[in-house]
């Protein structure tokens, strides 16, 4: 079963391959046909996923079976201990944070890992507010990042949010200030900071965990100033024109790479991360190790300066 319309042809072919494989068992006369079909599936998916439109990538980033931060966490980290609360108002389940050992295995060292979590299934999604944090979430993130800074632990963030929550309480409790403070705190951390965009990178709510020395993005993700739907509702007063807006907004990880907002796009397994969660985690893990290794040996001042320079040069300006 395909979840997205453009995945349909591949899903149908894959189903035929499965049927044929069952039939072909012990019957050599089907073997050639099976090989032909398997090749076709591989070729089709290669072509399809190489040439996705911006809208299709946005759809993949929101795929109902797409892995979340909580799926990567046990595959990439050991000894995770979650820590809660912003010490002011509450604990926001849209952001999960705690210390863990990275990488897995005997060479792991303590790091702070923070990520946005959308929650699978209605009950879990409600609890986590579909990954849209309130000010408490950003204040928790800031508190723990500053803690990591004091204890010299690297910070690794996972970004996956449509955006910060645009609610009544969020405004009353200072959503703007909470995000601004998060940006400021991150820009001054005296430790290596790596951000991984694993799903949606929606606007300021995503950037609040994104002021890093290196920003990695999985292949089928988006990162931009506004979601295609919100962009459409501003441009044409119609939020259903997301596809058209995506074509002009070009919010893909690939475009963010071209413009320098992302440092590396990490390939996903064929068909996307939801086809092989462990494979996706393995690829992200190896990119993350490399990114951390590239910062080794930098002093605290150099780490802050490296981050400052990274963002300072971003922009399109005619002087």
């Amino acid at each position: 079963m395909a979840d997205l319309p453009f995945e349909q042809p591949i899903a149908e072919l894959s189903a035929r391959v499965r049927d044929l494989r069952a039939l072909a068992e012990g019957d050599p006369k089907y073997a050639a046909e099976l090989r032909r079909l398997e090749d076709k599936v591989a070729r089709l998916s290669r072509e399809l996923y190489q040439d996705l439109t911006p809208w299709q990538r946005v759809q993949l980033s929101r795929h109902p079976r797409r892995p979340f931060f909580s799926d990567y966490l046990p595959l990439m980290f050991d000894d995770f201990l979650e820590l809660h609360g912003d010490r002011t108002f509450g604990d926001d389940a849209a952001i999960i944070a705690g210390f863990a050992r990275y990488p897995k295995g005997p060479r792991g060292r303590s790091v702070l890992v923070i990520g946005q979590e959308k929650g699978r299934g209605t009950k879990e999604a409600v609890k986590r507010n579909w990954g849209m944090a309130n000010p408490e979430g950003y204040r928790k993130a800031r508190r723990l990042m500053e803690l990591a800074g004091r204890f010299k632990k690297p910070v690794i963030t996972f970004i996956d949010t449509k955006g910060a929550y645009p609610g009544l309480g969020a405004e009353e409790r200072g959503q703007s200030e909470a995000i601004g403070q998060c940006l400021l705190a991150m820009s001054r951390l005296p430790v290596p900071v790596i951000a991984c965009i694993v799903g949606e990178g929606g606007s300021g709510g995503a950037l609040a965990l994104g002021v890093a020395n290196r920003v990695l993005a999985l292949e089928h993700t988006w990162y931009s100033v506004i979601s295609p739907e919100a962009c459409a509702s501003i441009l044409w007063k119609d939020g259903s024109l997301g596809e058209r807006a995506a074509a002009v907004l070009k919010p893909t990880a690939q475009m963010a790479l071209e413009l320098g907002a992302v440092d590396q796009v990490v390939d996903e397994p064929p068909g996307g991360a939801h086809h092989d969660v462990e494979g996706a985690a393995r690829r992200l893990d190896s990119a993350l190790r490399e990114a951390l290794a590239s910062l080794e040996g930098l002093s605290e001042e150099e780490l802050i300066e490296d981050r400052y320079r990274r963002f300072r040069r971003l922009g399109a300006i005619h002087a």
Binding site: A164, Y165, P166, G167, L168, A170, E171, E172, R173, G174, Q175, S176, E177, I179, G180, Q181, L183, L184, M186, S187, R188, S203, G204, L207, G210, V211, Y223, S224, V225, I226, A230, C231, I234, L235, W236, V248, L249, K250, P251, M255, A256, L259, A261, R307, Y308, F311, R312, L314, G315, A316, I317, H318, A319
Partner: protein, 272 residues
């Protein structure tokens, strides 16, 4: 055709002499309103004031030694929504006489030297793209180099959509530069005008050492329409207005425009 032309000319003459207050609806002499910095003498309603008006109101002799006024935006996405971004920028430049949505420079407020910046809302809603972000960075960086306090007036719908992810990056870039101002022990006075929302609110605007806002200015993260459609209910009267922010502890003072110069100077003297 002729009578119509006459009528429209007549209307525009009348409109030039009189203006209706947005607050109390009173018909006012346009000159009197302009002389009062666009503040209604009857009800105190604050109407939008131009960049020039702000300079004359706040700065000694109305003088700003501008920095980097030549910077113009690129078009990283070749953005077009039916009309090309380049054209929109061109139109905004012709209509405002400015190259971008902010002016920065060195000035004096009651004889105190400051690094001064003011968003120009008339230029594409004061939206922050690469140039606005760059100029705010330079404002904070020059303030550090020249050892000046920074005073920044915001009036902005937020980050500029047409430059995509690069507009988003300006939020991180500007706030990082603000961090350097803090390290240098120099004050940042943030003044939120109507409106201050989105990516401008969620970066430096509420991180002032002192945050001020004009009466009734809308200051918030999400626009009221977005919130209403999220929570599916009407927002209470006064929601996200300056007085609401004061009540919720997000700003230090709601300041009438007519007191702004005095209050900025006063706090700068305290923090000196």
């Amino acid at each position: 055709m002729r009578p119509e032309t006459d009528a429209s000319e007549k209307r525009s003459v009348v409109k030039g002499v009189f203006r209706k207050c947005d607050g109390c609806g009173e018909t006012l002499l346009a000159d009197a309103l302009a002389r009062n910095s666009e503040v209604c003498p009857t009800c105190g309603q604050h109407h939008r004031l131009s960049g020039d008006g702000w300079r004359r109101l706040l700065l000694d002799d109305g003088l700003l030694t501008e920095w980097d006024s030549h910077l113009e935006p690129g078009d990283p996405l070749a953005f077009s929504d039916g009309r090309a971004y380049r054209d929109r920028v061109g139109i905004a430049q012709r209509n405002t006489g400015a190259k971008e949505a902010i002016e920065i420079g060195r000035a004096k407020i009651e004889e105190i030297d400051v690094a001064y910046g003011a968003f120009l809302f008339a230029f594409m809603g004061g939206s922050m793209g690469s140039v606005v972000g760059e100029k705010i960075c330079r404002l904070f960086e020059r303030a550090v180099t020249d050892s000046l306090p920074a005073v920044l007036l915001q009036a902005s719908g937020g980050a500029r959509m047409q430059e995509g992810v690069l507009s988003l990056m300006q939020m991180a870039k500007t706030v990082a530069a603000l961090g350097r101002l803090r390290d240098a022990g120099l004050p940042f006075i943030s003044v939120c005008l109507h409106p201050t929302t989105g990516g401008v609110a969620a970066s430096f605007a509420l991180l002032g050492d002192v945050n001020m806002a004009e009466p009734k200015a809308l200051v918030g993260f999400a626009g009221p329409r977005v919130i209403e459609s999220t929570i599916r209910q009407k927002l209470p009267e006064g929601f996200q207005r300056a007085e609401f922010l004061l009540q919720h502890g997000m700003i230090d003072r709601v300041v009438s425009r007519l007191e702004m110069r005095r209050e900025i100077a006063l706090i700068l003297r305290h923090l000196r």
